[in-house]
């Protein structure tokens, strides 16, 4: 029982640590890094479920008859691409924010916006 779920539990802890960075840190770049960690950990969750004990990679060869499940691999390949696209876009927005505000810290940005409202 414990060994059966150990993988999943560690992965969940990793996911939550990434998620924590996203929602707690005020630095915009670090949030993106947190998002990466969160998503990569979700990928590990998917790949964990595809594994079959004693199986091999799903490339058909003579002599092997137990293969791990290829479908989660395909899904995660797509998800990795989605992840890097999101990061690239997020970073581009950050670069522009830096030019407009001179900072990449959420708290300072909010202060600047509030100041502008008062004037």
């Amino acid at each position: 029982m414990i060994t059966g779920y150990f993988n999943y539990w560690v992965v969940i802890i990793l996911m939550m640590m990434g998620f924590y960075i996203v929602i707690s840190d005020s630095n915009l770049i670090k949030k993106i890094i947190g998002l990466n960690i969160f998503q990569t950990s979700v990928f590990i969750l998917f790949i964990s479920m595809s594994k079959v004990k004693g199986g091999t990679a799903p490339i058909l060869i003579a002599g092997a008859d137990v293969y791990s499940n290829p479908l989660p691999h395909v899904l995660i390949l797509t998800a990795i691409v989605v992840g890097v696209s999101t990061s690239a876009l997020g970073l581009a927005i950050i670069a522009k924010i830096h030019r407009a505000y001179g900072t990449v810290d959420e708290t300072i940005i909010h202060e600047q916006d509030d100041l502008q409202d008062e004037n």
């Binding site: 990679a57 490339i59 390949l77 691409v81 690239a88 970073l91 581009a92 670069a95």
Partner: protein
């Protein structure tokens, strides 16, 4: 030219970059048998170009592979992929049903997969290069 890169680094890269590009081609066309495919190939090819740009300076990379060209490739890959789908429709199959492309269904599948993997590779490589160019230009 990037002044920070030393002579040795440039000479090493002169050897490494073509090798990486060859590897990209191998990955592109070997995906049916081993791990890899268009996506990985595109990324590796882009990595080679980015490495070149880092060592020799972006302007020099852009003289060989101009931004405009990259932009065409970005669109071309998607159009090739979707174009295969349109072709299968015109040949009487469903969207992306490769079986109508050729007589034997395995050959047809091979052709379809080859073409769409090529589309993936072209777009992914071009996109990575374009994003790098743009970010680096913005940096100045």
């Amino acid at each position: 030219m990037n002044p920070r890169s030393s002579l040795i680094l440039r000479e090493v890269c002169r050897l490494v970059i073509p090798a990486v590009m060859l590897f990209a081609l191998y990955v592109q066309f070997h995906g049916e048998y081993g791990p890899g495919g268009g996506f990985q190939a595109g990324v590796i090819f882009a990595a080679a170009v980015i490495l070149y740009a880092l060592v020799y300076g972006r302007q020099k990379a852009q003289r060989i592979l101009p931004t405009e060209t990259v932009r065409y490739f970005i669109a071309a890959g998607v159009l090739l992929y979707a174009g295969v789908g349109v072709a299968t429709m015109l040949l009487g199959g469903n969207f992306l049903d490769y079986n109508v492309l050729l007589q034997g269904h395995q050959q047809a599948q091979h052709l379809g997969i080859f073409l769409i993997e090529l589309g993936v590779g072209v777009t992914v490589g071009a996109v990575m290069i374009a994003i790098f160019y743009t970010l680096d230009e913005f940096c100045e």
